[in-house]
Symmetry: C2
Subunit: 165 residues, 2 copies
């Protein structure tokens, strides 16, 4: 490409040649501006996608551990005749809750709240004792957890329904 | 900038003007190539930094849960007079190990391995029974864990040292 241009310069420049170069320069500058914009977008995405990757990794790591916590809570609920051993396990349970909190996972307040299908999974319903309790959470069968602002696991609940007196 | 160029085109083009345009075009193309290279580098970084962010998030989430596992293991080691309750807790412990494995965290094989300061923390030493055992791990006081290829927690160990007979 260089050789013919040098030739034409030697033959004497034409207005066409200048026009061609100007157009090429305009195009090159336009292309550069578009790439610059893509570059800035990519850099912005870098930050937000990293946060999403972090959140997802936490979610995947902590999800199965909630089942372990459930199992520990079921064992504790059954009670024991061995007080010392029971106390040791109960202390472990408190450590567990704290470790989850440290990792960003927190149990959700649920009982008495209005039923919300975004964070509650209705297992069954029970008659409400008053109209005010209608569509509120009566009992939690499995605790729900959130991870920062997002849902880690919905709470499995019994929903109250008011059917009049 | 456009106005003077139009003027000079109307005045008739010069070899200088063509030279100027060619240099500008060369520069624009060079600038574009450099930005293109930066763009590709950034895109590659995106992938590797996301993986690093994921790994770090897992590490931060799972670290405190290893202490919970230790507490559960200490409780189990003490034993219990309540066989049913003990069995329930032992089952929870197995679930715990599996959940950690699912999250990518695995206990390291340690006993009998040559002492390696990268993954072992020597708490104390004990006399080795034979020269072959010199500088090998004799006992694990706290299990070490790895997360994929990286260290999640070093094993706290007792190192054997051979002092001759």
């Amino acid at each position: 490409m260089d050789a013919p241009e040098t030739d034409s310069a030697e033959r004497g420049v034409t207005a066409d040649e200048v026009e061609r170069l100007r157009r090429a320069l305009d195009e090159a500058q336009g292309r550069h501006l578009r790439l610059r914009a893509d570059f800035d977008n990519l850099r912005r995405r870098l930050a937000s996608e990293q946060e999403a990757a972090r959140q997802e990794a936490r979610r995947v790591a902590l999800g199965p551990l909630l089942d372990v916590l459930d199992a520990l809570e079921r064992a504790l609920k059954a009670g024991s005749t061995d007080r010392d051993f029971y106390e040791g396990v109960a202390a472990t349970h408190r450590l567990f809750i704290n470790a989850l909190r440290e990792a960003g996972a927190e149990p959700m307040e649920t009982v008495g709240r209005p039923f919300d299908p975004n964070v509650h999974e209705a297992v069954t319903t029970q008659p409400a004792g008053s109209p005010e309790q209608d569509h509120k959470v009566g009992q939690v069968l499995q605790a729900g957890y959130r991870l920062g602002e997002t849902l880690l696991r919905p709470a499995r609940v019994i929903v109250l329904t008011w059917q009049g007196v």
